[in-house]
Symmetry: D4
């Protein structure tokens, strides 16, 4: 039952051709969701800003091309394509504004949303092998309208490299701590910082690294407060969440 | 927004004191679910029959007592209490019809629903230790209105014990196959029967039985078709599902 | 010992050339199963209908070709080939009626069995990547003689997309809920529907999706009643079981 | 080297009895951390507000009593004691302001910090068994200065119960979604809300619930964006993190 | 259909009161298994010797008492009760010959079967904590009619203790190697011996011993040939299998 | 210290140039093992018969070629090469007697050892995909001097196929039961047979078959007595062990 | 063959009553190990110093009492009893020098071995709950003759607490890093120190701490060099190994 | 704040233009780490000797080339490149001294550090497939300045092969025991030796070898004292740690 149908019922009630009891029955029996989906969607559109996301893994270059163009044509100002292979980027029809970020495997249709806060999201990695995940996180946050600082390869085995960035850590509004192997980076950063820390385990490592499960378990058991965790290698999820938090509207009582 | 409020809006439209546009807006903005929950619940009530279920584990005897009495007083004819400890049954206020089935750890307020089909659900176990789970399943099915046949302790290690019941197996409308340890019962029964087989792994066994995980994995990998699986020791779930299937209305084109 | 041999023994007894004791011994020693296998097989043939299934994985195109032709020549009206690669379909000798359904990786020799009920089996997926498994399930059910409805890509993250199909869900006779990642679709559908729900976890996802194990565990722990689970990616098993249930003959007492 | 020693060095420099070169050398060689710990701690004190936390599990009532009193005497206005057993609460020396919240197993010395924002943190649970964890989360957030809304027992198996709270969900600034068993609540809430969602798996369930691991895996694989996860049963961690996020200072460019 | 019924049919055929056709039909329709169970069981009885086994775990002292007495009264010369608690042994009605072996938790009704071979089964353990499992194995083998040698506490950490028994190891007909922790005993014994080695992992150990899983995995991966494995702590199974092997009838061509 | 050195010491003692005390000391200090290895090896050679085994996996064709030739040249009558790729067989220098068994991936240098017993080892598989492992087992046993019977594709889902071979099962001296997926074959055969059953899980299956772990766990938990288990896909180990058991010399007291 | 027998053979050779050839044969055939065990044991005695160890877990107070007294009476100067319950310590017959260390659950018969090096072993823990394991390690090392420094409760969540001990860390000869939960302490200490670090995971934590497995995995994946790991809660093993390393004799070329 | 800034503050104090209180405050507020990192690094440089390590896995040949050349040019005398592919070695610009060790996948720029002790590190493997890991360990130790002895393919299944090396084992200063499959080598060697044993599990094996996890678990549960474990296949880590231990400076009190 769409809005036209509801309106028709209401009109019948107004015209006296339908009793309120019958109208109530009709509305009661109507599949409840049809009425509200549009509303719901509109709300989401308004709140989440202009960014749409295409999850590129498991989609053909053609599929990505078509979906991205449709979104652009429907007025979307910013379309983020994650896990986009270089070959898909090369095959992309470049008749609309398109940028490809190789390291983060991210395609951008349109332009980045300008930052709305002065503060920054800090993206830190334990090693150089974690950088692709980090770039996915960092670019997601930048595209969604955030300043981003990066400090890469500051694993805890050389704790002084990390401590050299203490001030940058302490001044961040949100931190994304990315590490494979033993994932201790999240705990140490969580101990230094007072802001929310989003930990991203990566599949970097071998043997008992178990494809990221060890880092994940380690991060979930962080003895530092303020740390939460997303799925292994989920840079996009961390960047998206960090953007949500960074853009919280302060509202003091 | 409950039905009274919707009715009020419709009355205003009927009286001409509210335009159809404004009524539509009010309805659109109303949290969509309030309108439909009653409907939904009524539908469920009608379809699922008169049975209500209380999951007894983790509830105090007092909580069970109160909830069961309320349901009875609200007109519920059959209330099924699962995982009910003997002490809770003893403490139950017996001013309403109440029966306790010790082996299946099930309490029944009111009376069993009479069977609606002539066929039966077969409940089979691999060993005697599986019987509590089997009784939970069997009683659930009986209370919900089904004939139930039981063949217990027919594990595959003595395949002839099981084969002695071939005819009972072949004539069942639905079979619940319950086994711990290696869980092979489900596969063998699945190979003999043509009807749906619901496999229930139990936590019976030691060492690599892994608390039922081995039986579960075994059942999920059954090479027989027509077998599906529920959670470890979930006799209630199997009985409930078997009842749903057994009461399917046949409707030939 | 086949029936001729049993008859020979009986004839000897009738003729007095064999004592009843010796006859008993002969029968006792006879491998007990030979007597009954034919019966058993005939029963299965009668009950399961005309469909035979070839599990294509791990078979060469030649093997599939030969087996399918033999079954067809022996009078089988419908032969279902699952997990059939496109290359095997291309190499198939097309001198008998053959159709290949690419997305579901299913080959069909002969024709679909006409539906015997008016109701339908609903096949729902959480995402688009689950569609190959869904098509395996849907086509299996169709070939075995069922109406099938499909609602794909209605994952719970956009719950409104799913709720838009509430009526289709509520009217289904059996539902196959297919999802990877966190597998929550089965629980939500299980909560909306009153009919049996067969949950199929898929290997879609990455990291802690653990190749489908997470979805499997989630589905086994569904808080909704009426849900059972089959092996990861086992579309065929779900379709087969759904057909069994959908074709239950209603028999009211 | 503590501050007195640094001051002594500086005094020697001021008095001319130590050259700047020698002073620099002394400072350089000093273990770097002694100089800065106080600073660091002061910073943390300033930023995190007046709340101190005692992790009660594994501590004797006497230990808790002593630590809490010392913190209070050192000027701490609010001391939060988590995982505090009722017996420890009863044994607590009540010569300082003390409140015990039984359901959340939380002891409070001093008073709650008044909320600094008008918005609220929403704490939702799938079942009633999840409430102890939920109360730990909710009380932690309240004590740290936040408005908290609670909606309990809104598991996805009865999706309409959850949808009845759509507006409350949509208006929250941060949501803590708490569930055991299959943990689907986090995904559904994540799909409805635009704010950060902190998912807390609980050890509620049996069999393949695996003591909370299934809910955890499910939540990590949530197909909804904006969801992150903390350790099983870690209500405190979720409440603490939610408070950090809710108290973000909005700072538009 | 038991043998009496079959005989009756045959008698009718012999008497001419039943045609061979009708007799064939009756036999064909008879559930096939009823004919053969007695046969099957008798065969097993003959081959396996006079021993019957009661699995005592999960049975009440009363149940054990009743079953054991019935078996004795039905002519069983030797009844083996495994996992029998001391309390059950004390409560046992001693009006029939009964011996209780505390360390192996085994009860024996009747007398041990005299050994039929001159050779011996060797039972070896890695540590003293493995002895209860070892005694279960050793006594099972002794009761079933085998000479048994024991060498306990010869773990590989003190390899010389084990090597001191090289001759005993080399002369054994079958070896049961029992160990917890890292389970290396099976590999080392397997490397020294030429006979079949049955490895029994035990739940001895802590931490990553994982309740016997580590020893199990280790034994399954033994680089020595001739080693096979039974379930964790399954002393009975090992003793039973060792007896089967030791009593193999040599039959040279 | 080799035998020459020991002999030299003894000669010195015989000549009176070395006291018995000093000789004892020298022998005591000598690394104990050098003296005995030859003995040990000779013993093994005598007992195990003329067969040598080369584990082909992870060896280059050249390495296999060289080792096999050396063994042949040193007088070995039978050399068994397991996990030998077809390419390695093709590259093998055929100047010595060589046979390649493709399905079992086994190469044989020299000739099979003639069977020493009249009885047979039975090799049974659940499905056709298990045949490579089965052939590895069967050929190993044949090469080591055993009669072997094969019954393949008799999985428990069609229990009648298996029961058709009851007599063959009951007459076997040793049975190797090979199955993937749920591995129930071992339990059913174990329940039918009185002889030792060696269960071999295979990596056949998908999803929760977990690469053979499910079959392994299932087999370890077999409720049938007399069953033991070897590593996943370890056909050679099963064949070797079966041969050891089948060639046990019967020795009645 | 013990030393007396070897001596007898040598005497016969010396007396000319046994040829050297025959003597060689006798020695060759003698089970090799009997000759050398004493030697081996004596060697171990000499090298490992005067300490003997009794693993107290799973032993009765009486057993511990007897073994400890026997070792003392046979001249052992230092007997270390690990995992000794307080009740066993109370029941210990105090007629020989005995000290009980409650926190480390260690009993000491005789006296500590005086340290042989000036340097120290550092024992560090992440939290206060790790102290029992730490004391087991520290006391083991002290009893075996080492100086030990302790820094407890220096988990990485408050990295400054750990850094305050940088000098103590850098000057240690061996470090034992003990932590539960996420076990990051080992990595951070490993990054600061140049000496061997022995990491001990503890079973401290809840939920995904998995009884110490998370800390174990984390430590095995430490990105710092020089770190190795022992079993969960294995304080004794770490202390023993640290003592071995600390007492290495320096031997420059 | 770098050293110039500290010097400036000190100069101001010396000049009387800054009070000691203000100077203290300035120093206290300075980010603590900047002052000390250089110091820290210098310390590490001095202590660890001249060797630098490049982890070659996941780096392109170009990256390895550049980093190695930079380290050489900055005065590094020995640069160790681990997990270096043969192709990377071939592509390496050979204008500086470079050696490639194929079996251990190690590249060496410059020359090995001459051994500083007379004793040796023993590297032992269970099988020939473990040799690549063993060579990584052995070469790492050699390059860092140690004598290394190798005994390969001495798995416990042929315990005599291992015992033939008893003296070599007993005389080693540190032992690296490397094994896949069941990993029993570490326990047996640990039982023979008195020195520290570093166990390295390898991913050699199939089925339940679980990619090295079985060997790892086995080694962690070694019943021998003095054994610790590193990550699966981590030859470098073992060689590095062994070198640290072997180069301990003996310092008797």
């Amino acid at each position: 039952m769409d809005q036209q149908e509801v309106k028709a019922i209401l009109n019948q009630v107004a015209a006296g051709s339908l009793s309120t009891e019958d109208a109530l029955l009709k509305l009661k029996l109507a599949p409840f969701e049809e009425l509200d989906i549009a509303t719901l969607d509109m709300h989401r559109g308004v709140r989440q800003g202009a960014s749409e996301v295409i999850y590129g893994a498991g989609k053909t270059p053609e599929q990505i091309d078509i979906i991205a163009h449709r979104l652009w044509e429907s007025g979307q100002k910013t379309v983020l394509i994650t896990r986009m292979k270089e070959s898909a980027a090369e095959a992309f029809t470049k008749d609309i504004p398109f940028t490809y970020y190789r390291e983060g495997r991210i395609g951008l249709v349109g332009s980045m949303i300008p930052p709305r806060t002065k503060g920054y999201i800090l993206v830190a990695t334990g090693g150089t092998s974690d950088i692709p995940v980090a770039e996915e996180a960092a670019l997601t946050a930048q595209i969604m309208g955030n300043h981003v600082e990066r400090i890469y390869d500051v694993g805890v085995a050389g704790i002084h490299r990390l401590l050299a960035h203490t001030e940058t850590i302490m001044r961040a509004r949100v931190i994304i701590a990315i590490a494979g192997m033993e994932g201790a980076l999240a705990s140490v950063i969580g101990g230094l910082a007072d802001c929310p820390v989003i930990a991203v385990p990566t599949s970097v490592g071998y043997g008992t690294a178990l494809g990221g499960v060890t880092a994940l378990l380690s991060m979930l058991n962080s003895c530092a407060s303020g740390v939460s965790v997303v799925n292994i290698d989920n840079g996009f999820g961390a960047g998206y969440l960090a953007s949500l938090i960074n853009n919280m509207e302060g509202e003091k009582e």
